[in-house]
Symmetry: C2
Subunit: 458 residues, 2 copies
């Protein structure tokens, strides 16, 4: 029995390890285009500043380590075609540029996602980079070493752009961030976007919102970035405008693609093609709040999906299920943690909900306990049923509040379930009533008033 896994970052390597635990005898081969497997891509922005010390720290396991588990990892190999009828593969060895044929009994597609590079004039100038793979970071670091750029422009105000802006600023560059929308961190409400912009500006990052880059100016090398009435100098540009699922290989093999543009799988991570599973950033799943399809390319989810796909592929059976995601995410800019789970108000309204929300500005410990920091939390609920739809938080301890709310969403809690919830309190760890309880209590008052309003008009 031969299992082949296409892609060896998070989902692919997790699937391989799990498959080995399920079946100690099956042949397992992982093909990985990049020079290393098992890369912690979430750490790339921190590599730029040296906060993560050395690229090797981002390689969780080498091919040699996988070999100890009797898993063959072939790096710098690209699977170019899948023939599901005959269960054959065409593989290119990128070192020799030669192709060869391989075969599988079972296949896991974990081809991940690639950086989106918008077609902006001048984007082929030297000094303009995406930041998706470890090899991208290598190129940026080589460029910084060789050219000592002093002025950087980051294109895109999503979490990757924000993290990159911080990390370039930390090594002394003058950094400008350009975002097409009217605010950064668009997945969040405006209160959070404001805090993120303020934290970056306080630390010296210039932010230009509502501005689309028109043109990169230069002569061989990047020299300036043009948008609106501005032309700002730059000798380094990094795109942080997002990623798209890498699905061409699977689609060409007849694998169904979902509404989000990512591979459609069932709860067992099976595709529509027999003996082909898929996992990770190339896969579409369900948003458990809205019930709709979701594509959320994140490392933790990729690991969880890889575990399910690897187990089921090894067993050749529907052993484990992956139920879906909440859209939980978190990032940090300087000292500000920013996270969310479920739907933002905008997302909830787009999904057809009428929403109520309550925001609190709270402290992360008892008021009298020294060193208290501030944290913002907003809860969003369905105005009809009271069901929680989402939460977002920014500030000290935002990660805790988001994880409490994610767990509440996972359990399909109503706001009422949070009013009396028994969370952990002592002065060093929070106010006597958690911001989650405070916000739920405010929501409770809003629902009460809404009901009284209804009663009066009846």
């Amino acid at each position: 029995m031969r299992l082949v896994i296409v892609g060896g970052v998070a989902a692919g390597t997790k699937a391989a390890s799990r498959a080995r635990r399920v079946d100690s005898l099956m042949e397992i081969t992982v093909y990985q285009e990049e020079p290393e497997p098992s890369i912690s891509e979430c750490g790339l922005p921190y590599l730029l500043s040296g906060m993560v010390e050395g690229r090797d720290r981002l390689v969780a396991r080498t091919p040699e380590k996988f070999a100890e588990q009797d898993i063959e990892v072939r790096v710098r190999h690209r699977v170019e075609k899948i023939y599901p009828g005959t269960r054959k593969l065409s593989v290119r060895d990128l070192a020799t540029n030669e192709t060869f044929e391989d075969s599988y009994d079972r296949l896991v597609v974990a081809t991940g996602a690639g950086a989106v590079m918008p077609p902006i004039p001048g984007a082929d100038l030297d000094g303009i980079f995406g930041l998706r793979f470890l090899t991208d970071a290598d190129e940026v670091l080589d460029y910084i070493r060789d050219h000592s750029p002093g002025k950087a422009v980051v294109v895109g105000g999503g979490y990757i752009g924000l993290e990159v802006a911080e990390n370039l600023c930390r090594i002394g560059m003058k950094v400008a961030l350009v975002e097409g929308a009217d605010r950064v961190a668009l997945a969040y409400g405006p209160e959070v976007s404001e805090k993120v912009e303020a934290e970056l500006e306080r630390n010296g990052v210039d932010i230009f919102t509502g501005e689309k880059v028109e043109r990169f100016v230069g002569d061989g090398h990047i020299r300036a970035v043009k948008f609106g009435d501005e032309e700002i100098e730059a000798d380094l540009v990094i795109f942080g405008v997002g990623v798209k699922p890498s699905i061409e290989l699977a689609r060409d093999a007849g694998v169904e693609i979902g509404a989000t543009g990512a591979i459609r799988v069932d709860r067992h991570m099976k595709t529509n093609v027999p003996d082909v599973w898929a996992a990770g950033d190339c896969v579409e799943t369900t948003n458990l709040v809205s019930g709709g399809p979701a594509w959320v390319p994140l490392g933790d989810t990729a690991n969880q999906m890889g575990r399910v796909a690897g187990t089921n592929a090894a067993a050749g059976d529907d052993v484990l299920e992956f139920p879906g995601v909440l859209g939980t995410g978190i990032f940090k800019v300087y000292d500000l943690g920013v996270g969310k789970t479920g739907l933002s108000e905008k997302e909830a309204e787009a999904a057809g909900y009428e929403t109520v929300s309550a925001g609190v500005e709270a402290r992360d410990r008892a008021g009298y306990y020294p060193g208290a920091g501030k944290v913002f939390l907003k809860l969003i609920a369905d105005a009809d049923t009271g069901r929680l739809l989402g939460a977002e938080s920014a500030g000290s301890g935002a990660d805790k509040l988001v994880d409490i709310c994610a767990t509440a969403l996972w359990g399909r809690f109503s706001y009422l379930d949070l009013v009396n919830i028994d969370l952990a309190y002592s002065p060093p760890f929070g106010p006597a009533l958690s911001p989650v309880i405070q916000a739920a209590t405010i929501l409770s008052g809003q629902f009460d008033r809404a009901r009284e309003g209804t009663r009066v008009t009846e």
Copy 2:
């Protein structure tokens, strides 16, 4: 309509404020024995070291502040008798030592809990204190100022004793902690107790477990503490051996007392006596995991109960419910956060469950991200059904892990619900898979093996 509240710390003052919001006209009087209302008793240990700067920081609101809400707070007044038949009260003014009669239409009993002082020979020597009320802390601080004690013994290794030991050590005293059981932090499993002992010892606290204090030695003033073969010098002793509910007043008025020794109430915080509600540390509630009665005297729970009792008493109706508690708690010794929710293994076994558990030693951020701390987490589940019964954690970010698990227990999750839960990940905030997910995945493997074992023997 006149509402009287007996007790003005957390539950009593919260009940008063809520009652005022429900009914803007009713008369509200709070009787409080101590010289101040609205005291943050959880902060008392930190007052001893000066980490909390000044006693007034622990008084959340003064009687004058309550007066602005038209709530009368009469401090240094003790309600000595309740006559439920006539709805009268006998009240002693502790300043004049005179008694007078008052009356109520509705009554909230929030008499709290008092320190347990075991009857040990010599306990009447000068320099031996409990630490329950702000006035206790005043006495200790006066004593420290007047006598400059250099050697302290803390009796009891529960969370108050542990916090007191740290805070006395922080101001330069040589501190010994004596605990009768074979380890401190008995509400936890032995792994956590060990970490707590190690953290205190690392910081210079001497710990004697399995030792019961036999005698306090001294001549007017405390000079030494005798236990087992030891007699250790001490010029200050603080009891941290726990509290008991103050229920005599209510019991004498015919209020039913529950199995735990605290006041029995229904889900609306009503006692068996008409027009009498009760809330806070004097009240018994339900442990939502075991379904049994629980007495958990904690500030956050008291606030939540006070909200329910105050609302219902003001409305004269069953408007709000307090469902019960999980037994969630947390404390800190030096840099070690220690928390739990639900049942420990010992508690679960006492409640009749057969348990399985999984412990993980994890990091609080990605391994490659600088400054990672360590954290231990143990999940405990029902071996029959897989339902989560409890969790305990110690280390960096223990508060977050405990709150995630408390929310999971609140939603009656099984271990399986946590394997794929969508928590917030990015490198500064945790490993790619949260320790909660790691532990649940280990449990999952244990259940799988148990099932296979069953299959084989069938």
